[in-house]
């Protein structure tokens, strides 16, 4: 972890319009929760539907994409990353720092609003709020690492990330059960399922015994790989 790298990365992420993108989805989530509460729909069933379909299935991967690729891909695109990389700091440390920034963003913009929205609807009943917040946090960490790696590997990180989240996790996952084993979203759902005792959560396709190791392996693997790729970062001339 390098504090100067982290400081510059935070400023790059929050200073531009990207912060509006980061704020939009959590505000929508809380807005929906408020709406449900006002219209008298604040029960466990609707809370869990909102958490599963919006907080985990929609907001988390999108924020993961914005934060995960946002901490590094724009800098690689415009060449500013050279400022960090032409210094005597090991490249894996740069990758780890960028990952920590992205993960912290997801904690603030995904996990905390998830907890708050669920709390608005059902307070702390049956561990729903805590379960989904923890699922969001751990899933967010895995997304941050995966999308950071994508941002290092390819200039089409956002496109590939969207395809992964929408096509693989969203569509293939709902038809092919096996595909859910390789879905960060499902891992996050499994954690929520494990913690919450609510009867309204359907049994998830993925067990907690799979989800936790999978999150650890993907996170560590992606951050290590990103560091190795940065070590061999090449500037290709325009000529």
């Amino acid at each position: 972890m390098n504090t100067v790298v982290a400081g510059i990365t935070y400023r790059a992420l929050l200073g531009r319009r990207r912060i509006l993108l980061l704020l939009l989805l959590p505000l929508a989530l809380i807005g929906l929760a408020v709406l449900l509460r006002l219209t008298g729909g604040a029960d466990q069933r609707s809370a869990i539907l909102l958490m599963q379909n919006f907080a985990i299935a929609t907001m988390l991967p999108l924020l993961g994409l914005i934060a995960g690729t946002g901490v590094i891909a724009p800098e690689i695109d415009d060449g500013t990353i050279i400022h960090l990389m032409s210094k005597p700091i090991s490249r894996p440390v740069i990758a780890q720092t960028k990952f920590l920034v992205a993960a912290s963003m997801l904690a603030v913009f995904a996990a905390v609003p998830t907890y708050f929205a669920a709390w608005l609807l059902v307070r702390n009943e049956d561990g729903i709020a805590f379960g989904f917040a923890l699922g969001s946090l751990l899933g967010g960490i895995a997304y941050a690492a995966l999308f950071l790696l994508l941002g290092v590997l390819t200039r089409h990180a956002v496109t590939i990330g969207v395809i992964y989240a929408l096509i693989w996790e969203g569509m293939v996952g709902s038809f092919v059960k096996g595909a859910q084993n390789f879905s960060i979203q499902q891992w996050a759902q499994a954690i929520a399922d494990q913690i919450s005792t609510s009867a309204f959560i359907d049994q998830t396709a993925v067990t907690i015994g799979w989800a936790i190791p999978a999150i650890v392996i993907v996170t560590v693997g992606a951050v290590v790989w990103a560091g190795l790729r940065l070590r061999a970062f090449s500037l290709t001339g325009d000529e």
Partner: protein
């Protein structure tokens, strides 16, 4: 410190960008000269550890440069692309460089570097409000902040106005005199001539020539040279010179003769003898193309 390139090549697929280049960059100012597309940036990126050679090796005082972040303790890099965070002020940018280097007193190092490039005035403005020349100067300040032994600059004078250019040239010369190892790339001959003591010429990915300007020139005495000659009897001298194979063509004009010497050594040997034998006084013998431009275009033509 010495940067050593040994049989360095770099190719992209089937395209060879740099082809078997061996050179040593020592203390003083070295100009890396070549037309656009010659592979200067590719070579410079390899020297700066931002590109792995496909073949050969690049070392800094014997230490491999590629995949070695420790070299940046000794190297300062001024890349050609912008590479400056627009949302930081000039001061924040240079200070961040000082901190990233882990300097013991980053504030005074940053102040000194900004003073060196005369950017103390606008230092509290955001970089995105700077002109191209100002951005270039904060980049130089950031590269100098840890007082590196080696400074690599990719096309540093691009986009600078004449005054800024002069200032940077003075700065580079002063650092070279102080014993730093400095290499800058340029496709503009006049820049290289004015700043560099030593020139490396890269043409079409190949190391076409090396040395100071005169040495390069001497290396290529075979090339056709154009001389302007004034004498007591131009017509008679023209007739006497064209007889010999060392002259490729002679033009007689109102200002004297223009002789295309195809064999430089023989021509230089012949001219005074012919003049004496014919009883002609030579008033003036001057090379017309004794500038880098003509050396350069000759090199390009030779290697293509």
């Amino acid at each position: 410190m010495k940067l050593e390139l040994s049989q360095v090549s770099r190719w992209y697929g089937n395209v060879v960008a740099v082809n078997d280049v061996t050179m040593t960059i020592g203390p003083g100012v070295t100009g890396l000269l070549g037309p656009n597309g010659a592979g200067k940036s590719t070579l410079l990126h390899m020297m700066a550890g931002f590109l792995g050679p496909s073949g050969g090796s690049v070392t800094l005082d014997g230490t491999k440069v590629w995949k070695n972040h420790r070299i940046y303790r000794n190297i300062g890099l001024v890349p050609e692309r912008e590479g400056v965070y627009g949302f930081l002020t000039g001061w924040q940018f240079v200070l961040s460089a000082a901190k990233l280097h882990g300097l013991s007193d980053p504030i005074s190092a940053a102040q000194k570097a900004l003073a060196t490039v005369e950017m103390e005035g606008p230092k509290d403005r955001r970089v995105e409000t700077y002109s191209k020349g100002m951005r270039q100067r904060v980049k130089v300040a950031a590269a100098l902040v840890h007082d590196p032994e080696v400074l690599l600059l990719d096309e540093p004078f691009n986009g600078m106005d004449p005054r800024q250019r002069m200032h940077l040239m003075d700065l580079i010369r002063a650092m070279g005199t102080a014993g730093k190892t400095i290499l800058f790339s340029s496709h503009i001959l006049e820049e290289v001539e004015r700043v560099a003591q030593h020139i490396e010429v890269l043409v079409a990915g190949r190391h076409a020539a090396s040395g100071d300007f005169r040495q390069i020139r001497r290396l290529m005495t075979d090339r056709p040279h154009l001389f302007r000659i004034k004498s007591s009897d131009d017509r008679k001298l023209a007739a006497a010179l064209i007889v010999d194979a060392s002259s490729g063509g002679v033009t007689l004009g109102p200002d004297g003769l223009e002789v295309q010497a195809v064999e430089f050594r023989r021509f230089a040997w012949l001219l005074p003898r012919v003049a004496r034998a014919e009883g002609i006084n030579l008033h003036q013998v001057s090379p017309v193309d004794e500038d880098l431009e003509s050396v350069f275009s000759y090199l390009i033509n030779r290697s293509t």
